[in-house]
Symmetry: C2
C-alpha cells in the first residue's frame, strides 16, 4: 500500500503511518493539502494527517482540506507526543537549541525551568531539528526531538519526556475516498452549517442527538471564513452514519443545516 | 501604561497593542506564558495575547494560561491577517523564502501556484523573516511579511495580500486582573467542566442559555488533559457576567459544572 503523509522521515506523522501499516510505501509530502491532493489524484492509496492535538487543539488545515476535497476519515490513530532533549554538551552547558516552534511551545515549562538564556533556533520539523544537531560542529548544541528521530540520528539524550503535559497526544486520521464499514463501535465526524442564523438552533441540533442517546465526543465552532461571527460547527459523535439512530438524527438536522459527513470510522478510545 | 505582548517588534501582537493604546510602553516577551506572568506579577499593567485565528483556530496556550493564572479578558481586538511577499529579486527568480511556519501555512495556495521549487527557511516570527531578508546578501531571497514589518525594514514588495483567505483575522485579548465593567454590549468567555460524565449534560447546559435567549457565539470542547475523551468546554456568550439573565444561567449550570469566568468585555463584532 502507498500512503502519503507529512515529511520528512522521523515526524509524528511518520510514526502514525508505521502504527497503521508498517510495511507501507511512504510518500512524504510537504503540506497537509498535498497529502489530500495525492489521495484525490490516486497517486497513493491513503493519506495520514494530524486532526487534533490535546494541547494545541484542532488542526484547522485538515478540517478545511476534508471539506474541500470531500475525502473521508476511515480510521483514527492516537500517538502520544513525547519529546526528548538531545545535545552534544551537558544540560547546563547548552548554548543554542534547535526546535520546531510548536514543539518548543509544548516544552515551554521545561525550557523555562532548566535552560536559562538559551538561543532558540526554529526549524521546520522535529526531524530537521535532529538532523541539525547531528551535524552541529560547535559544542553547546541541543535539540528537542521525538523518539523515532532520536534513534535515526543516534543522538545523545540529556532528558526524557520533557513535554509540559503528560497527556499530550495527537489524533491522526487515515484519509480515503469512502467511509469505513460499520464495526458496531464507531465514530462519525460531521461539519454543519446553518441555513440561516436563528437563535436556539444549536440547542435544537444537540437535542436531536440527546433525544436519541447519541453521545457527542467533540463539538467545535469555527469561523466560516465569511463574515466575523459566522460559524461552522464540527461535531464528532458516537456511532456510524449507517446506524439507524444516527441516520434519523442527521435527517432531522438536515431541515436546518447543511451537513457534510467527514467520515465514519472505528473508535480508538 | 505598560503592556506586555509577544515580541519581537513588528508582529501582529505588536499591531494589536498599537490599536489598543498607541502610546503604551511595550514590553516584548518570548512566550504567551511570560505575558501572563508579567501581568500577574505587576511587572506590567496589562497583557495582550492572541486568542483565536479564523483559519488555524483557537490558541490553546492562551486558554491554558487564562485558566492557570486566573486573569481576565477585559477587551477583544480584531486584527486582519494580511501577508505580503517581499524579496530582493523578481518573483520568478526567488530561490529561498524566509517565513514563520504558521505564516507559510496561511499562504500555502499562493506559494504552490507562484513559487515553484523554492527553499523554505523557517523563522521564529514574521519580524525575524523581515530582518533576515533585509540582511540577505545573496540574490533570490524572499520573505513573507505583514505590513508593519514591511515598513520597518523598508522591504521591496513583490505581491500584496498573498494569504489564501481574504477573511483571515486574529482575535486578540487584553488581559488584566479583573473583568471589565458592563457596557450593555458585552461578551463573556467561560470554561466549563462537568462534575461527572452523564449523557445529555451538554444539551441541558445549552438549554439553560437558549431558554434565556442568551446567544452563544463560540463553543468548543478541548481535551481536559486527563484521560482521552475527557473534555473541557469553552463557551463565548453574548452578555456580561453581571447581567441578570447571564447570572441566572450560570447559577443553574453550577449544579452540574465547574465554571471559570475567563472574562466579560465589550464586544467588537
Amino acid at each position: 500500500m502507498r500512503i502519503a503523509t507529512l515529511g520528512p522521515e522521523g515526524t509524528f506523522s511518520h510514526e502514525a503511518v508505521l502504527k497503521y501499516d508498517n510495511e507501507a510505501e511512504i510518500i512524504f509530502k510537504y503540506t497537509i493539502w498535498d497529502v489530500f491532493d495525492a489521495v484525490k489524484n490516486n497517486e497513493v492509496d491513503k493519506g495520514i494527517v494530524p486532526l487534533e492535538n490535546s494541547v494545541s487543539g484542532t488542526i484547522g488545515l485538515t478540517l478545511d482540506s476534508l471539506m474541500h476535497f470531500g475525502l473521508k476519515i476511515i480510521k483514527e490513530i492516537i500517538i502520544p507526543v513525547k519529546h526528548n532533549l538531545a545535545g552534544n554538551s551537558k544540560i547546563n552547558e547548552l548554548k543554542f537549541l534547535y526546535s520546531h516552534p510548536q514543539t518548543f511551545a509544548q516544552c515551554e515549562k521545561f525550557i523555562r525551568d532548566k535552560l536559562n538564556e538559551i538561543e532558540f533556533i526554529p526549524t521546520s520539523s522535529n526531524a530537521v531539528s535532529a538532523e541539525k544537531l547531528s551535524k552541529a560542529k560547535r559544542k553547546g548544541a541541543g535539540a528537542i526531538v521525538p523518539n523515532p528521530a532520536m534513534k535515526k540520528y543516534k543522538l545523545k539524550c540529556l532528558a526524557r519526556d520533557i513535554q509540559d503535559n503528560r497527556f499530550n497526544v495527537t489524533r491522526f486520521a487515515v484519509i480515503d475516498m469512502e467511509c469505513a464499514k460499520k464495526t458496531g463501535n464507531d465514530r462519525t465526524s460531521i461539519s454543519i452549517y446553518p441555513h440561516m442564523d436563528k437563535p436556539g438552533l444549536l440547542y435544537q441540533l444537540i437535542g436531536e442527538f440527546a433525544r436519541r442517546k447519541i453521545n457527542l465526543t467533540k463539538i467545535e465552532s469555527r469561523p466560516s471564513k465569511g463574515r466575523l461571527g459566522d460559524y461552522i460547527f464540527f461535531i464528532d459523535l458516537q456511532g456510524h452514519k449507517d446506524d439507524k439512530e444516527v441516520k434519523a438524527a442527521l435527517k432531522a438536522i438536515e431541515k436546518n443545516f447543511f451537513i457534510q459527513i467527514l467520515g465514519s470510522y472505528p473508535r480508538e478510545y
